[in-house]
Amino acid sequence: MNPFRYASASDVDTAVATVQPDRGAYYIAGGTNILDLMKDDVERPQLLVDITQLPLHEITADADGVRLGALATMADAADAPAVKANFPVVSQALLAGASPQLRNMATLGGNIMQRTRCAYFRDTSQACNKRSPGLGCAAIGGENRLHAVVGTSDHCICTHPSDFAVALLSVDAVVRVRGLRGTRSIPIDRFHVLPGSTPNIESVLDWGDLIEGIDLPLSAHARNSSYLKVRDRASYEFALVSVAAALELDSGTIRGARVALGGVAPVPWRSREAEAALTGQPASGPTFATAARAATAGMRGYGQNDFKIELARRAIERALHTTAAAA
């Protein structure tokens, strides 16, 4: 780990004013991602600004929904009664991620900002356009069993590692961000950006922007939602494929649907194709099969990860059956 300076911010204004003008300055909260990357020399901040003293830890519920403070831990959010009751997919996704120790440390803001687990990104001897723009992508044509099958580009085929962010897509979450010019709200489906020719740019945030919280609006589909994670071992592993499914049902007919996928794309992936195939249709096996085919029709593998397309199709079907049965 490179030497760095350390500062603790006592209020949001000071935190933003410290990081915004300084490209060598990074926020640190749980630290589970940034310190790991620093040990691998992938990141070399000159200044870490500790934001854990900021008053952004609370989880509150009101008539409109649940407000998750950006500094709430994964463990706290997963166990919050208002989250479990009204957004089961969010609680399930949080508990499907990392380990109990890491969930006690990692914060929600950091979770949606976490970097890819692509081995080439984390190995500074390898080509990676995300880490070093212009060097190329060693994963294309390399060991790519764990890589993306949709939303990729000739510059990057990594996957986004977050389970939580996938669940957020299925409940229409809104990210509250503090920047130099004040606070703004960003719907989660416009928060992350595809790699295109600039895989080093991963979200719409500007340098120094600070996530203050994530808001979950109540909805019928959010209340009837679930998360399915398929992985190489039973626990404590990133997704090969994951599915967040949310269904609003009315006498067996699907009135509203959200389908989001993890482990398949460089961003948490929302399938509007699947949602369109579900909406207005009977909640039945043939409908779910059609939706799963619609979601996977545009996917393309890179050799070792071709299996993810069929796995995603089956996982989507199963997640929809599970979600419909819970209604």
Partner: protein, 201 residues
């Protein structure tokens, strides 16, 4: 909480209502735009910085660089070598300690960020002449072979007890999944944890 149908548009519009902001308790969520002349947070380092930590109920003075992890501070500066360094990247759980009663990976924790918190290591579990029940259970159930992962397993299990999770074998395996045992002593580890967490010491 009452479930009430709200559209996203309505939810978003409500977010900007000053009345709602005033109505919220706790920290202010929607502050005004930044003042032009907000000062920056004072920084220390990268050279060694003096501070103290509360370890096992004792205040311990340290002078370490900000980049020193809690794990390295415990082992290399405070001679508390019970906490083990396995992967040093949050994967194996050998470095598990309690911070304010919650289990964390000390390898991914900066020592300087632990100021003002209560750290408990494996050395802090036993009373003067009496092992913690979880330590006794690991002995009784032979919950180890080489023993390297054991301090982390025990600290994680003590943290687990405070979380009040289900204590059937499958649940214990899931909630202990952050601790890897290369010797494969899992059946006995699970039995040891169940014997204490299940209340049948």
């Amino acid at each position: 909480m009452q479930l009430r149908r709200v559209t996203r548009r309505r939810f978003l519009s409500r977010l900007t209502l000053p009345a709602l902001v005033v109505g919220l308790s706790g920290p202010r969520l929607f502050p005004a735009a930044l003042a032009v002349n907000v000062s920056r947070a004072p920084a220390r380092g990268p050279e060694a910085v003096e501070f103290s930590l509360n370890i096992n109920g004792t205040t311990r003075a340290l002078a370490v660089e900000p980049r020193v992890t809690l794990l390295d501070a415990l082992r290399d500066r405070l001679a508390l070598t019970g906490t083990k360094k396995g992967c040093d990247q949050g994967t194996c759980g050998a470095c598990t300690v309690l911070v304010d009663g919650r289990r964390v990976n000390s390898c991914l924790t900066l020592a300087i960020m632990t100021q003002g918190k209560a750290v408990t290591t494996i050395e802090g579990l036993a009373q003067v002449d009496r092992l913690h029940p979880m330590q006794s259970a690991f002995l009784e159930h032979d919950g180890f072979q080489c023993g390297y992962c054991t301090p982390g397993q025990i600290m994680s299990a003590v943290g687990l007890m405070a979380e009040h999770r289900p204590t059937d074998a499958a649940s214990v395996r899931e909630w202990m999944s952050g601790n890897i045992c290369r010797c494969g002593a899992y059946p006995n580890i699970v039995a040891a944890v169940q014997s204490v967490a299940g209340g049948a010491v």
